[in-house]
């Protein structure tokens, strides 16, 4: 088999905010003809930069310095002439980006956008049908905003395959989509490969997404490939501690509910320290002295062991395969979490949240006199006992976030009522970064919450220091602004603000959906700890069934503004009664437990 793309010793450094950093540090990789290669890594691992480098589209504003080669066909995408690169992009490459709304032209009809690549409307129509768009002729003349997210991604796919590319690069094509649509898009990628015979590079932060359709998986860490091999091998017999960590911190429907979620060790080393030796050594539980000194080469994992069957499987680690796999088996069990207060223990008579007959109707102003009414909530009844944790699951548009916002007092109730227990509700938002006022310091933000207590200066400072410490942040954080914090730290600050005066009810609106898996797990651990230590009721909104099961004693499934199913968490997951719950469950990408 020939390779459609060959990456050799690729090194890329980019300037961000005036600082030059090495984003890719020696990547060797081939994409074979007709294969789907999954490229997995956390944010900052360099996987998107690798995709841009393969397309010859590194942003000039970041003043890229590139070493090594990227060959697509006979063309060097690093040193080639601009017109050569354009020809390759036109003839050999197809691209699918994360957000089709921003990568499609909003002022052009979608058909015309496909025509730009095919120069033939009949062919465009055929492609639209081929990528699974029903009524292609009808949808040929609509604008991108008139289509759903899944359909837009299909249009992108039609454009991507229009030039009969030998390689499609899909950069997080499913991240912005609901789980049921995600499954469709992944199927689509596989069908494109089968039908058009092209290779696909699937870039994703979620190992399970890659595992669903990829033939091989490359795990990236800090600009290098940590491990590369057939999907089955990577998922079931990982040989790099980082892959093991990623797999273990991934939440699945089988993750034990009564134990702490496993997380990767937080990064403690400075950027300079990380550049010496193996980039992962400062977080690696198996690190030995050599790891901090010398960079391990990417070598076949099969060497000297019988446990790994394939010679295709390569890894960059000084420890032996048996050491890594032995560690995997030794430490699968996490410590149990403190028992949550049994529901109703604190105040059995009075529910913490009582919602009766709640409806919310938004009136959207259209152009001119048109007014459109959107029924976001259509009659919600929900009672949550004090100390209980309830997860609300649903896809975008189900009304789950609106429900939370009505409880928080941020959105109006059209009819019905919401009653809250005495200490009221506090909320943690999806995007912690933007929920913190950018020009205020963490201290300012927390002091504001403490104002009603009328504490003196010293007492306020003490309270803030204690709360930050309890949540795992150093007290010095209080002098920093949100932009100076990492994503995980910002979410912790948001949690501190919500709980520095413990509320009766903590509302969580997808607080972890923007975080990497391991970071998300640590935030979920924290919320569970806070719940038991502060005796709070928790309402947790999420689109992820695995997270819902872990965070709620009870799971409530919402769609189209109504509750369709509600019950004890494991019962809902194991024996869903409503059709919609079943379709949600069927779409969850699962990779099974480590063997």
């Amino acid at each position: 088999m020939t390779d459609v793309a060959t990456v050799r010793d690729l090194e890329v450094s980019l300037v961000r905010d005036g600082v030059r950093s090495d984003v890719l540090r020696g990547i060797d990789l081939s994409v074979r003809s007709g294969e789907i290669l999954g490229m997995v890594g956390e944010s900052g691992s360099g996987k998107s930069v690798l995709a841009l480098a393969m397309m010859g589209l590194l942003p000039t504003s970041a003043q890229p310095r590139v070493g090594g080669t990227v060959g697509i066909g006979d063309t060097d995408m690093v040193n080639g002439r601009p017109d050569e690169l354009r020809a390759v992009r036109r003839n050999e490459l197809g691209v699918i980006f994360q957000d089709p709304m921003t990568s499609l032209n909003p002022t052009m009809r979608v058909g015309a956008q496909i025509d730009e690549s095919t120069h033939d409307s009949a062919e465009s129509l055929r492609l639209m049908t081929a990528v699974g768009i029903a009524d292609a002729a009808l949808r040929f003349t609509v604008y991108p905003h008139e289509l759903s997210g899944g359909l837009r991604q299909r249009i992108m796919a039609a454009i991507a395959v229009a030039g009969r590319p030998s390689l499609i690069i899909a950069d997080e094509p499913t991240t912005a989509l609901d789980v049921t649509v995600q499954a469709q898009v992944l199927d689509l990628l596989r069908e494109l490969r089968d039908e058009f015979g092209c290779s696909v590079v699937l870039i994703t932060h979620d190992l399970a997404v890659a595992a669903q359709i990829a033939d091989r998986v490359a795990v990236m860490y800090a600009g290098r490939i940590a491990e590369l091999g057939p999907t089955e091998e990577i998922i079931h017999r990982p040989t790099h501690p980082y892959t093991v960590g990623l797999l273990r911190s991934r939440l699945s429907l089988d993750t034990p509910r009564d134990r702490r979620l496993l997380t990767l060790r937080p990064e403690t080393a400075s950027a300079a320290e990380r550049l010496k030796g193996c980039a992962y050594h400062s977080r690696c539980p198996l690190a030995v002295e050599q790891c901090g000194v010398e960079q391990p080469p990417l070598a076949p994992a099969a060497e000297g062991t019988a446990e790994v069957s394939s010679t295709e499987h390569v890894r960059a680690c000084w420890r032996s395969v048996s050491d890594v796999q032995g560690y995997t088996h030794d430490t699968l069990d996490a410590p149990p979490i403190a028992a949550a207060p049994s529901s109703g223990a604190s105040d059995a008579t009075q529910p913490a949240v009582l919602i009766t007959g709640l409806t919310t109707v938004f009136t959207l102003k259209g152009g001119g006199r048109r007014r459109r009414q959107v029924h976001a909530l259509r009659g919600i009844d929900l009672s949550v006992a004090a100390g209980e944790a309830v997860s609300i699951v649903g896809e975008s548009g189900s009304g789950k976030s609106t429900l939370l916002r009505v409880i928080a007092g941020l959105a109006p109730a059209t009819t019905g009522r919401v009653q809250l227990a005495g200490r009221g509700a506090q909320m943690v938002f999806q995007d912690a970064g933007s929920s913190l006022t950018p020009w205020l310091t963490v201290g300012d933000i927390l002091r504001e919450r403490l104002r009603p207590l009328k504490l003196d200066r010293a007492a306020t400072a003490r309270r803030i220091g204690d709360s930050l410490e309890a949540i795992g942040l150093p007290e010095t954080v209080s002098t920093l602004r949100p932009a100076q914090l990492s994503g995980g730290q910002r979410q912790r600050v948001a949690l501190t603000r919500a709980t520095i005066i413990p509320p009766s009810v903590l509302l969580c609106d997808e607080p972890t959906s923007a975080l990497d898996a391991s970071l998300a797990a640590s935030v979920l651990n924290l919320i569970r700890e806070l719940r038991s230590s502060l005796d709070m009721t928790v309402l947790f909104v999420t689109h992820d069934l695995a997270v819902a099961r872990l965070m709620g004693d009870r799971v409530v499934v919402m769609t189209q503004g109504t509750i369709v199913e509600s019950g004890e968490a494991d019962a809902v997951i194991r024996h869903p009664e409503h059709e919609y719950t079943r379709s949600l469950l069927a779409s969850v990408p699962e990779i099974g437990v480590l063997s």
């Binding site: 994360q98 941020l410 938002f429 995007d431 006022t437 950018p438 504001e448 923007a514």
Partner: protein, 288 residues
């Protein structure tokens, strides 16, 4: 994955950025230093001026470089350097006053409209539209003509038509900040309405307002000079850049320096303030 939304104002890019980050910063700082010197000169113009600007003290129409009169004298023997210095003082501080008044009036109206929304917003914005629809310069001229020709009335006339621009921009910024998640978060956290406006919204608007205002100073310098050229400034013999150019225009071919030097002063003022606006913009964009 997704980058967090940019904090603060609209992003601007200065052409100087291509010279490299530091060159852009250094150039901007240099321009601001020059503006600072200009302000000091304007402030101490009375002390710096060698002669009384309205008294004829020398020979008529002396060329620049003449002894005791580095910029020469005009047709009745007044010292041009002294007149230009005082003219710069009047022009510069008048411009700052106009821009400050625009910022204050427009800011109040814009913040009120943006924060209250609903009918308050609608009423304030229609009122603003009304002023935007009027030809500003003509209304200013009409006001001056009605109130009488002097500097104070000119300033009132311009101030009356100058704020709507600021009201519009500031209202838009307030609205966009009010819709940000951090404002909702502050509401849930129990911050009062006043507190939300002054702690969580207005500070975000300030950079845009400052950049808008500093880019606007040059416009005001030119407008004031223009009105003064048309005779809508202080009555003679008060030294004023526009008026000095206009009154001595007949000497352009014989004694060119008499009308040209005050005109050059206007050019320098407006150029410096425009560059200053760009510099403020560059430095603020860098800070974020």
């Amino acid at each position: 994955m997704t980058a967090l939304p940019e904090v603060g104002t609209r992003r601007f890019r200065m052409p100087a950025a291509s010279l490299g980050a530091h060159a852009g910063t250094r150039l901007s700082v240099a321009i601001l230093v020059a503006l600072g010197i200009l302000t000091l000169v304007a402030l101490f113009a009375r002390l710096l001026a060698p002669y009384d600007p309205v008294q004829p003290i020398g020979a008529l129409n002396l060329a620049p470089g003449a002894e005791g009169h580095p910029l020469g004298t005009d047709s009745i023997g007044r010292d041009i350097l002294s007149r230009t210095l005082i003219g710069v003082q009047v022009s510069w501080f008048s411009s700052l006053i106009i821009v400050a008044s625009g910022l204050v009036i427009g800011g109040l109206i814009g913040v009120a409209a943006g924060v209250f929304g609903g009918w308050v917003d609608a009423a304030l914005m229609r009122f603003t539209d009304l002023f935007l629809a009027l030809p500003g310069t003509l209304v200013a001229i009409a006001i001056v003509a009605a109130l009488g020709y002097n500097l104070q009335n000119t300033l009132i006339g311009i101030a009356v038509v100058w704020w709507p621009y600021y009201a519009r921009i500031i209202r838009g910024e307030v609205k966009s900040f009010a819709a940000r998640p951090h404002v909702e978060a502050a509401r849930v956290a129990g911050a009062s309405r006043t507190r939300i406006v002054f702690r969580h919204i207005v500070p975000g608007v300030v950079p845009t307002a400052i950049v808008t205002a500093s880019l606007d100073i040059g416009n005001v310098v030119l407008l004031l000079a223009g009105l003064s050229f048309l005779g809508l400034g202080q009555p003679a013999p008060a030294p004023e850049l526009g008026a000095d150019t206009a009154r001595n225009l007949s000497q352009l071919l014989s004694e060119w320096w008499v009308p040209v030097i005050p005109g050059l002063a206007v050019l320098v003022l407006s150029l410096l303030s425009n560059l200053g606006g760009d510099a403020v913009r560059t430095l603020l964009a860098k800070r974020r």
